[in-house]
């Protein structure tokens, strides 16, 4: 399988092609890609765990809402998430457990957009291109 995520060209903002064997893998890799865009963070050792639940009207809306939820939580609670365990995933609902550390974090990302977003099958993989506003 190719790289889980890879940054691709976008003139003004940042964009990633994300892949996964299962849809849950795609959601996990997208989270890793987007939350990796931290411009500044201070590491602490204090572990954090959080459970999240998000809905959407279709797969693409669900993915955008999932990623925006993670960004909100990271910014709001100053937490750095590195582990994403998808507990339940349908086309309109995702429930997941996040693991990471408490870490004063300054994010580079304002929001995840719908631009050019289409979750599709390519051979044995799920693929999507995610554009974020920075």
């Amino acid at each position: 399988m190719r790289q889980a995520f890879r940054e691709v060209e976008h003139t003004a903002d940042r964009a990633f092609t994300v892949r996964g064997r299962e849809l849950r893998d795609l959601f996990m890799h997208a989270a890793q890609a987007v939350l990796g865009l931290r411009s500044r963070t201070a590491q602490t050792l204090q572990p954090v765990k959080r459970e999240v639940e998000v809905t959407g009207t279709d797969r693409e809306t669900l993915l955008v809402n999932w990623l925006n939820e993670l960004l909100f939580l990271s910014e709001r609670f100053q937490e750095r998430y590195e582990r994403f365990e998808i507990l339940d995933l349908t086309d309109e609902h995702v429930r997941a457990r996040l693991g990471g550390t408490l870490a004063p974090t300054v994010l580079s990302v304002k929001a995840v957009t719908f631009h050019n977003l289409a979750i599709r099958r390519e051979g044995a993989e799920w693929v999507a291109t995610v554009v974020v506003d920075v």
């Binding site: 940054e7 691709v8 060209e9 976008h10 003139t11 003004a12 903002d13 940042r14 411009s39 500044r40 009207t57 279709d58 693409e60 809306t61 955008v64 809402n65 925006n68 909100f72 910014e75 709001r76 100053q78 974090t105 300054v106 994010l107 580079s108 990302v109 304002k110 929001a111 957009t113 719908f114 631009h115 050019n116 977003l117 554009v131 506003d133 920075v134």
Partner: protein
């Protein structure tokens, strides 16, 4: 260059006819010289411009300015006007950073006078004005006060002692967009914005100490309080997390609207609702709140910058007080009257990475600008300078009173970071007499001058087209990067 059936309809004005694609409602028009046109063809900008011509209720043409580059939904540099009552409003036509804009402040000092204190001043500005997407400020707003910010914008700043009366007068719309209603700002948006007032943000946001390097129009410069070698300050920032969340909320909500009404869109970021629908009104009310938050944000930053100048320069120099020249928005949807084919229409003018440029005699301008037109502030990249322009009668006739907003990106952030090292850039700028303060060298590299188009060409195109008039050029001497 891909085939877009471009026709040159004026000097540096290109049009793609409405027949080019079956879903186009009006032509698409781009202001650009040939070089900038080729650059626009290198990404999805023109495709995005064509996509905006499909919006219901659009009048005349979809427009793009010479700083056009790929965004999402609308291109950056895009202008679309839709006719009320049934014309649509599109959150993507405003952007995530609602009322991202620029403010210009002018001192009575010259660059020679400030030079000995510039390092200290740059450090003070960097310390006093927090930066970064999630950065928090030192002002904590209670709910009732927060509502006041969202309803009244700069006027809240005046009440709280962060503004002078002239600051409010010399801000677009008096620093307050009417029609705001905090009911439609989500709890999450409030949560994100609550501790962020008086903060700079990140990306291409900055505070910049400049010198007035060139005067093009002495009479108009004098009317704006500008003179050769003068020290001035620009602030470039917007509505922070509150605005981002408002846009997110409604782009997400409108996905359901278009699905329910079985509307097919060329791009999901182009979701819309009729302005006279409940959905349309709710977004407008929330957008106005976010816009007012941004005005208040730039006002608090103005206060902090004035304080920094006083802290560093009091007792050493006189004339360091900063007077506001003007404050403009470049991501907004405004309700304005414009003449279209001889009739006055009420329009919703979306400017996404485009600046209002009202000409002389336009109602609503401060008395001081009624004869000369509205000041237009066009920041370039750090290192390449910025421009002060004035709006013209021609912009009212041709572009719904609009012009460009900046240099426009040329390189992706990825490419910029591969080509340029932040540390080397900082050294290079210092050798040119430009001090830089930035928390992240990687972020600095993304904003390198090479990543942007030539601001001189962009401004020359709008000046030659007559949709703005050059007044002065500014050169940076210290940059505080968000």
């Amino acid at each position: 260059m891909p085939a877009y059936d471009l026709h040159e309809v004026g000097e540096n004005v290109w049009e793609i006819p409405a027949t080019f694609r079956p879903d186009m409602r009006v032509p698409a028009r781009l202001y650009a010289d040939y070089d900038l046109l080729q650059k626009a063809s290198a990404d999805q900008s023109l495709e995005q411009l064509i996509n905006t011509t499909t919006l219901p209720g659009i009048v005349e043409h979809a427009l793009a300015m010479p700083d056009i580059h790929q965004g999402y939904g609308f291109p950056i540099g895009g202008i679309v006007a839709t006719a009320l009552p049934r014309g649509v409003i599109s959150p993507g036509g405003v952007g995530y950073d609602i009322n991202c804009g620029v403010r210009l402040l002018a001192s009575g000092l010259t660059v020679d006078q400030i030079q000995p204190y510039l390092e200290e001043l740059a450090t003070s500005l960097y310390k006093n004005c927090p930066s970064g997407v999630g950065a928090r400020g030192d002002i904590r707003l209670k709910d009732s006060e927060f509502d006041r910010v969202l309803r009244t914008g700069s006027e809240w700043g005046l009440e709280q002692g962060y503004a002078r009366r002239e600051d409010v007068e010399f801000t677009e719309e008096g620093g307050r967009i009417d029609g705001s209603d905090p009911t439609w700002v989500s709890a999450r948006a409030r949560d994100r914005g609550r501790n962020q007032i008086g903060t700079l943000g990140a990306g291409n946001h900055f505070i910049e100490v400049d010198m007035v390097a060139e005067i093009f129009h002495p009479v108009c410069s004098e009317a704006l309080g500008l003179f050769q070698d003068q020290v001035v300050v620009q602030i470039h920032c917007g509505s922070r997390g509150l605005g981002h969340q408002v846009c997110q909320d409604f782009v997400s909500q409108y996905q359901s609207y278009v699905q329910q009404h079985k509307i097919e869109l060329p791009d999901r970021e182009l979701v819309f609702a009729p302005l006279d629908s409940p959905e349309g009104q709710e977004y407008f009310c929330a957008m106005a709140c976010a816009a007012n938050f941004a005005f208040a944000n730039r006002q608090v930053l103005t206060h902090k910058i004035r304080r920094s100048f006083e802290q560093v320069l009091a007792g050493r120099l006189t004339d360091f007080d900063l007077k506001q020249v003007y404050d403009v928005a470049h991501n907004m949807a405004k309700l304005e009257d414009h003449t279209v084919q001889g009739c006055t229409l009420k329009l919703c003018v979306h400017r996404k990475g485009a600046t209002r440029a009202f000409g002389p005699g336009t109602p609503g301008l401060p008395v001081a600008f009624r004869d000369i037109g509205q000041p237009v502030l066009i920041p370039g990249s750090m290192g390449t300078g910025s421009f002060v322009l004035l709006g013209t009668k021609k912009s009212m006739e041709q572009t719904f009173g609009s012009t460009c907003h900046g240099a426009g990106r040329l390189l992706s952030r990825m490419k910029a970071k591969k080509m340029i090292r932040g540390e080397q850039l900082r050294t290079r700028l210092r050798e040119r007499g430009i001090l830089v303060r930035s928390a992240s060298m990687a972020d600095l590299a993304e904003e390198a001058p090479e990543a942007y188009k030539d601001i001189n060409r962009v401004v020359d195109v709008v000046a030659q087209a007559g949709i703005a008039k050059k007044v002065a050029r500014l050169q940076p001497i210290a940059v505080i990067k968000g």
